[in-house]
Assembly symmetry: C2
Homo-oligomer: 209 residues x 2
Amino acid sequence: MSEKNISMAVIRRLPKYHAYLGELLKKDQRKISSRQLSEITGFTASQIRQDLNNFGGFGQQGYGYNIEMLYNEIGKILGIDKSHSAILIGAGNLGQAIFNYTGFNSAHFSIKGIFDVNKEIIGTKMKDVEVLDINTVDKFIKENNIEIAILCIPKNNAQQMVDVLVENKIKGIWNFSSTDLEVPESVIVENVNITESLLTLSYLIKEKQ
Amino acid sequence: MSEKNISMAVIRRLPKYHAYLGELLKKDQRKISSRQLSEITGFTASQIRQDLNNFGGFGQQGYGYNIEMLYNEIGKILGIDKSHSAILIGAGNLGQAIFNYTGFNSAHFSIKGIFDVNKEIIGTKMKDVEVLDINTVDKFIKENNIEIAILCIPKNNAQQMVDVLVENKIKGIWNFSSTDLEVPESVIVENVNITESLLTLSYLIKEKQ
């Protein structure tokens, strides 16, 4: 694939472009120059042009970018031109917060099942989605073509759970368990490690003083 | 300060070293070589030595690192040798998840107040901490020497809230509001943008196929 060697720094800027373009679309703006996009995003115009050139450019000399076209193209690059099926593992506070997160009210991602060990909540529903016994997760992944597992369980149990997910051919793990996971190369792990984030904030505050 | 020019990549590895060393300490291990540390962390031994040399080294030729000493020194570098006072802004699901996050049961960070706009929960308590009216946040920050605000409110209201925080001399904002914030240079913002994280996962899954 032509996009294989794109750096992670570029990849992590794409969702930002996508979000800003989405905001502009809502305001019915039609086109934008890389200089205007620079003012909004804080990235330099040349950085923006360089980033987008990785995927074919999309701009027109003297016109700039067609916002709707660019928004849709970046959406395709990000793989959200189709819907992804996910499961939530762990229905505690964090799991509930992620479940209620507005991103899942979109067409791009949907949580098909919620899994927990707590017998008191198994069988209850969050919105329309049932909380199921964690011991049935293997069967559920296969039968429902689940691509993504959202891991919101304590770190002590995380790797054991991940081994089950990997065995059942999960494609990606969105990891909120504040621990590093071992997976084969075929499985993507995206970590949201809030401990690391908080300690980074602490460091930067200290350095500023 | 001698640490001013450390790259963000190094800074973001420090919490990882700190976490791994903490685990080793719990197992009563006393010392470790950079090679062993490499096996645990997945970073190369030379990367680890180089990272730690930014702050003075801490290793001894032929001995390796004293784990407790290195753990404490990295803690100091991260600014957690003293306690930080924080407030939580937004007591919805995400705010509750962050509040219950184990990192705040430590000696390093404590949430002194919780703020919300919802009159039905103002006056209630989460554990021992009262939920207060958001309109009193300015006074509270000053009277309680609050350093960190944890922002768990919808993005539409985020910047307006941040302007109030900045005016009241907050030092750092831990931003869960999925939007970029404008602050003066004196204020640190650490973003936890889960939308960007989810879209990155989506991209990487697509690329793998």
